[in-house]
């Protein structure tokens, strides 16, 4: 279980004034749950993710994973960024094996595990390629495989498919659901895309800000795989949309 307990995060802005990126945010995410964070730019989605990852320290409040406070980054909470995810000087195989290499897993074993996860994301053929030789979609698959390879409890994804074209995006969303159904990580997924949130999430957390707050939490209990044309799905998108509009005061 992942808990954000009244978390506030302040940054020193460029002009010296303090920027409150998150204000008193509390959220509890169950094990194996897939949660999507949505909200307009600057509302603190990335900050939330980085705090959970341990890449930033909360100004106030605590973050607990299974009751243990998060003190810094760890292989328990792995991040997939939107860009610059892979190490360009390493082959695909060695990228995926990186976390295991850090843990001291012997070479043959870690390569076998890396191959397993690469097969899982459909890249069994590309093990010896370098990131620069792959398309953007393939690179993000490798990043997902690399994050899974160390078997973290929590997967933190910051608009991982945001830079991809619509078709590739749809394919990767489906793959992520398939992998998640097999592997059952806890996933916190940041997105701008309402459809993406509706397709993936068990719960959608709608944020507003700055200063970042949770505006609403919507349960999405539609069975998977979700049909993007089904009335219930469209109704769900509509609800998220309405929440965002309320938040942004467009009405």
């Amino acid at each position: 279980m992942l808990e954000l307990d009244r978390v506030t995060k302040r940054f020193n802005g460029a002009d010296g004034r303090a920027v409150t990126a998150l204000s008193d945010v509390s959220l509890t995410i169950a094990r194996h749950e897939m949660v999507c964070l949505v909200g307009r730019s600057g509302c603190g989605k990335t900050t939330t993710l980085r705090l959970i990852a341990g890449l930033e320290r909360a100004t106030h409040g605590r973050i607990l994973l299974n009751g243990v406070p998060v003190e810094g980054p760890s292989a328990q909470r792995c991040v997939v960024f939107q860009r610059y995810t892979l190490f360009p000087w390493r082959s695909v195989l060695r990228n995926v094996a990186f976390g295991l290499e850090i843990q001291g897993v012997p070479k043959s074993k870690r390569h076998a595990i890396a191959r397993h996860y690469l097969a899982l994301v459909g890249l069994a053929e590309q093990v010896h390629a370098f990131p620069a030789q792959l398309s953007g979609g393939m690179q993000q698959r490798v990043a997902v495989a690399r994050a899974l390879a160390t078997d973290p409890q929590v997967l933190l994804m910051d608009e991982p498919f945001g830079a991809l074209d619509a078709q590739t995006r749809t394919v990767l969303q489906q793959e992520l659901i398939r992998i998640w159904q097999e592997d059952r990580k806890t996933i916190v997924f940041v997105t701008h895309d309402i459809q993406e949130a509706a397709l993936l999430a068990d719960r959608v957390v709608v944020m507003q800000g700055p200063p970042g707050r949770i505006q609403a939490i919507l349960n999405c209990d539609l069975p998977r795989p979700r049909d993007k044309g089904a009335p219930a799905f469209l109704a769900l998108c509509d609800r998220i949309h309405t929440m965002l509009e309320v938040v942004n005061g467009w009405n």
Binding site: A53, G54, L55, G72, P73, S74, A75, R77, C78, V79, F81, R83, Y84, T85, F87, P88, W89, R90, F98, G99, E101, I102, Q103, F130, P131, A132, Q133, R146, A147, T150, L156
Partner: protein
């Protein structure tokens, strides 16, 4: 033929001017007939063609090259060995940067050769052989004065340092953060992420540093205390009015500098993963 022709044409374009210049040189030298001012090309060539022959009372061309190369390599390695770690630390830790930066910025604009008098005053003409007596008998061992090595060190140090700092700063923070959330810390983060990610710029710094070190060397060898090396050789040849040896020495200096630069450029080209197709 149709494929060979453009290549041939490329070579012709490249070679025409040099050949004309050489021909002009040789013609002028023959017409002038003053070998102390403008040596004939065949005289220069004959010095270059006998690299193992003793020149005047100094060693052979090869021996002088070896002395110069060893001095440069020593100074360069010393520079790389200190500038890279310092640069990594300055690039990564803002604290270290704040501590060291002003000193670097003050020392950096001082031309390496401006250090010569002070370093001579400190170190005199002591050489490696003063520390390792068994080197006393070899020309090479006795010729590696600390002064020249230190001058080269100073020349090579700053380009390596500045490029290393930039190399670390330009690492996208996603690389470092991905690595940290995959469990990398401390030493593993340094040698599995920071060093490989900054390597292309570090190698560029090494290439520039080696080039500057090489230029400093030749000037440093013209200073008192030096008794061997290519810089010394051409200075000595000047005193004996042997322009053929001067030109041959200059050509040797140019070729070695060119070769070192090319070697590093090859290495650099292999390290650019961004564009590797």
């Amino acid at each position: 033929m149709s494929r060979g022709f453009p290549i041939l044409k490329g070579w012709l374009d490249r070679l025409t001017l040099p050949l004309l210049l050489l021909a002009g040189w040789q013609a002028t030298a023959l017409w002038l007939d003053k070998p102390t001012i403008l040596p004939r090309l065949d005289a220069v060539a004959s010095v270059l063609m006998q690299p193992t022959a003793k020149i005047l009372i100094t060693g052979s061309l090869i021996e002088n090259m070896a002395v110069s190369l060893i001095r440069v390599v020593l100074g360069f390695l010393l520079a790389a060995g200190t500038a890279i770690p310092l640069g990594l630390a300055m690039g990564y830790f803002q604290r270290v940067e704040r501590w060291v930066d002003s000193s670097v910025e003050i020392l950096r604009p001082i031309p390496p050769l401006a250090w010569v008098p002070l370093i001579l005053a400190w170190l005199g003409i002591r050489s490696l052989a003063d520390w390792f007596p068994f080197l006393q008998t070899s020309l090479i061992g006795a010729s590696i004065q600390f002064t020249t090595v230190v001058i080269i060190f100073i020349g090579a140090f700053f380009p390596v340092l500045l490029n290393t700092i930039q190399g670390v700063r330009r690492i996208p923070r996603e690389y470092i953060e991905s690595a940290r959330t995959l469990g990398a810390r401390g030493w593993a983060l340094l040698h599995k992420v920071l060093i490989p990610a900054s390597l292309p710029m570090v190698v560029t710094g090494l290439r520039i540093g080696l080039g500057i070190g090489w230029m400093c060397l030749v000037a440093a060898e013209m200073m008192p205390g030096s008794t061997a090396g290519l810089g010394y050789l051409i200075w000595y040849a000047y005193e004996l009015l042997r322009a053929d040896i001067i030109v041959a020495g200059m050509i040797a200096i140019g070729l070695i500098g060119f070769g070192m630069d090319k070697g590093f450029r090859r290495l650099e080209a292999r390290l650019v993963w961004e564009s590797s197709g």
